[in-house]
Symmetry: C2
Subunit: 193 residues, 2 copies
């Protein structure tokens, strides 16, 4: 590799894909090294322990995903349209080869294998999404483009839990088309036109 940063990025890319499919307990340094095309010892040079790798994966994933969400929510369009495209962010992941799910959905299931800082990072990711959704839902309800009962804050948490859960369940039954149908049903329940 020409630059050290290139190898580091290649490792994170390969590791993320593998964890999204198999989980952190389902992969090893050997699997990641094989996918990158380097030796196991070289991987340890960039990430000394598995925990270091997990923390780097979580940091990058949350930063990039939330940047996309902010770009979407702060851009033009009404609340229902933004919600549809938000669901599309998850759906795009699911359509990739090998049935990957949201990194934080997978690690949420394997929470017992994570150290406290990573547990917090997973929870922070859920919370950051729920808060952004709550603001969007409240705005949509105020301007009349959405119509639903209950608090926008709890509705935001419901949307996060639903999308994380749907990514996991549809791999066993229904696939991406079922995920799309669940996304449409969610918009129906939130009173989107």
């Amino acid at each position: 590799m020409a630059h050290d940063g290139d190898t580091r990025r290649a490792i994170l890319d390969a590791a993320q894909r593998l964890v999204q499919r198999h989980g952190i307990n389902g992969i090893s340094f050997q699997h990641v090294a094989d996918a990158v095309g380097i030796r196991k010892a070289s991987l340890h040079h960039h990430f000394a322990t598995k925990d270091d790798l997990v923390r780097a994966l979580l940091e990058r994933y949350a930063r990039e995903f939330l940047a996309r969400v902010d770009g979407l929510f702060q851009g033009p369009g009404d609340a229902p349209g933004k919600l549809r495209r938000y669901v599309g962010l998850f759906e795009a992941t699911l359509r990739d080869e090998g049935g990957p799910v949201c990194l934080c959905g997978m690690l949420g299931a394997e929470l017992a294998a994570l150290r406290a800082p990573s547990v917090r990072a997973v929870g922070d990711f859920y919370r950051a999404n729920a808060e952004r959704l709550a603001a969007l839902l409240e705005q949509g309800r105020r301007d009349g483009s959405l119509d639903f009962e209950g608090s926008a804050e709890q509705a935001g948490w419901l949307v996060v839990s639903l999308l994380e859960g749907a990514m996991l369940t549809v791999r066993a039954e229904g696939g991406a088309s079922r995920f799309r149908a669940i996304g449409r049903q969610l918009l129906d329940l939130l009173g989107a036109p």
Copy 2:
């Protein structure tokens, strides 16, 4: 042990608790044997391979959970009340010590580690729940005790995905109280009084 069936049941009980907390990739025969108080080799006498153990766990879990659902849905009460108690079935699991989740929610995340028959068993569990929920939701909408947009079938899938997802996400952020709040929000969105 007096009867062989007692040991078998003790193994299944211990293994289920461990898998619900750590996942199938997060436990070993050694962990299960320690929890039961027998040796690893004795465990292999009852379940020759890990796959045999997983299949037995799935068979028993689905049978017992769906029996509870059927008893609930076929009993007295209106649709909103039955839905509330259905959510309570999941909530009861979550309140136990050590943060266990639905066995099939956990195994849905670790689907890549399962053989085809177990993958089918997980999908069948989701489907069985979604179908029972769809019938209940449709009945509630017809008798006016529920009020929501979209197809009851898709709404059933939404409820399953939401509850499986919420069990996983609230372990990282919010705990059982957040799960209850999400359950209430779901009933709001479905037009329950």
